[in-house]
């Protein structure tokens, strides 16, 4: 596939092996970025930039196996849709099929249904398509900014992306199978498998009502193309407004359950304190835990980096992205004084309530000195990003107002 280089001949290794003779011809790639700092508090924040993964372009390498690849943050400044080849990647188990034959693939629907189904991709493509834009964000996006730090995938802010998804409504497929009375949940399983024999297979469940809401989608296309294998080819569940843990990749098995799912990935993993914004004090115990669910509102400045120097007395355009979570963006406000005063940002075109929304503001530093730039999203339900970060031991659901320190000179 385009962009694929085995790790053994990655750019860095090429440079290393090229020696002095190769320096002249490799001058341009040598200048290209090969590492990045994520500016995580407490260090261990340098990451390689990799182009070694199939169907993927430049990505921040968090872990090779199973792959954890972060979208370089610059990508979010280019537009509200995240290119497929730079869309973040996150797998739990390392046994991932590396080839998929579109003629042999089957999606099985079984369990508490009238008529079990075994659907080919041709069957699925023949159903009426559904299309919308939606943000896919890892539960632990921005985990690396938690203080005190917590174990896990040490992401910066790039474990998220927005795409235009096309597929079929899950409801239509479930209706075809006929859900029996007494069904309570629908469980989704993909083709990935545990490396160790007794390891818990990765599976996620939704309530029957949620699964039948007509919005949850079995997607076969993102941004007009088939999904990259590492993003779930050929089918992935799309659960708009909910964290990516539910967006099961390489989906090939749907089971309708007549009792609540108690599998590890629902009962134990991906659970959050049942408190506002999943926020607890470090060390606090005895808090009831519930499965993670809806995204919360977030916003980011995308065109100005921390540490940048800007010209005094000249207006600068500040722009970024925002998303409302499980609903649309009502407003984005911008502050240049660390949140003391705010001005309304101008919102760009609305691509749908689950999408990233581009915003713009203007800022003219009147005097030399340091400025703290902030963006704050208010979603359509009226939820506003808070000024204090939330904390929980798994590092989930960060949505504090982010700050960008700059100086005017």
């Amino acid at each position: 596939m385009v962009g694929f280089m085995p790790a053994a001949v990655s750019r860095r290794n090429l440079l290393r092996k090229a020696g002095i003779g190769g320096l002249a011809s490799l001058a341009t790639p040598a200048l290209a970025q090969t590492t990045i700092r994520l500016a995580l508090p407490g260090g261990a924040d340098q990451r390689d930039i990799t182009t070694a993964f199939p169907q993927k372009g430049s990505m921040v390498l968090q872990r090779t196996r199973p792959p954890l690849l972060e979208t370089p943050f610059d990508v979010f400044d280019k537009g509200v849709f995240t290119p497929n080849d730079q869309f973040f990647v996150r797998w739990h188990w390392a046994i991932i099929p590396t080839s998929v034959d579109v003629d042999k693939f089957r999606l099985n629907v079984h369990g508490h249904v009238d008529k079990p189904l075994s659907l080919s991709l041709k069957d699925i493509l023949a159903l009426p398509p559904l299309e919308y834009a939606a943000v896919n964000q890892c539960s632990g996006n921005s985990r690396g900014f938690f203080q005190p730090r917590v174990a896990g995938g040490e992401w910066g802010n790039g474990a998220m992306g927005n795409a235009r998804w096309v597929g079929v409504s899950l409801k239509r497929v479930l209706d075809q199978a006929g859900i029996k009375a007494g069904a309570v949940q629908v469980r989704f399983n993909g083709m990935d498998q545990p490396v160790v024999p007794d390891g818990p297979d990765f599976m996620k469940s939704l309530s029957v009502d949620h699964a039948r809401d007509g919005e949850v989608m079995i997607a076969y296309a993102m941004n007009g193309q088939q999904l990259p294998l590492l993003n779930g080819f050929p089918l992935r569940l799309v659960v708009p407004g909910w964290y990516a843990t539910y967006w099961v990749k390489m989906l090939n098995d749907i089971e309708v359950l007549d009792s609540p799912d108690t599998n590890f990935w629902m009962k134990t993993a991906y659970t959050i304190p049942d408190t506002p914004r999943a926020n607890i004090k470090p060390g606090q115990t005895g808090v009831p835990m519930v499965p993670i669910s809806k995204l919360n509102a977030r916003s980011f400045i995308t065109n100005i980096k921390a540490g940048a120097t800007i010209a005094v007395s000249k207006p600068v355009e500040v722009r970024g992205i925002a998303f409302g979570g499980d609903t649309g963006v009502k407003a984005v406000d911008f502050s240049a004084d660390g949140g003391k005063t705010w001005q309304a940002a101008r919102l760009d075109r609305d691509e749908g309530k689950y999408s990233f929304r581009r915003w713009h503001a203007r800022f003219k530093p009147a005097t030399k000195g340091d400025y703290t730039l902030m963006a704050r999203c208010t979603n359509a339900s009226g939820d506003v990003q808070p000024s204090e970060p939330n904390w929980n031991p798994a590092g989930f659901m960060r949505n504090v107002i982010e700050s960008t320190q700059v100086s005017a000179a």
Partner: protein
């Protein structure tokens, strides 16, 4: 965008629910066969590295460890216990102290 116009038309067509109109699939899917890269990162040497290499790296590459923040020994004990109990890592009880000590040595408090 042309594609969106086409798809909107398809959706509109489907909404009319004519049983005879079989909509053309919006995309043609092609089989995929790829190779995933192996890890080139190595763990720093030190007491217990063999145990980590033999047990931990069966499920995940060294990058998982190298990107972790500095955490106290108790946090590393909890991580190793989680890997054994929950993820069923094949780590013998007798190897646990060496693994915890190694992790604390490279990723413990400064």
């Amino acid at each position: 965008m042309k594609r969106r116009t086409l798809l909107s038309a398809l959706i509109a067509g489907a909404a009319m629910a004519s049983p005879l109109a079989q909509a053309k699939p919006p995309i043609a899917l092609k089989s995929v066969d790829v190779t995933l890269p192996g890890s080139t990162r190595e763990l720093p040497s030190g007491p217990g590295m063999d145990a980590v290499q033999n047990h931990c790296l069966a499920c995940h590459s060294a990058g998982m460890i190298l990107t972790q923040p500095r955490m106290p020994k108790a946090a590393w004990e909890a991580e190793v216990a989680k890997m054994r109990n929950v993820y069923k890592a094949t780590v013998d009880e007798k190897d646990v102290p060496a693994i915890v000590d190694y992790l604390t040595a490279i990723k413990g408090p400064k």
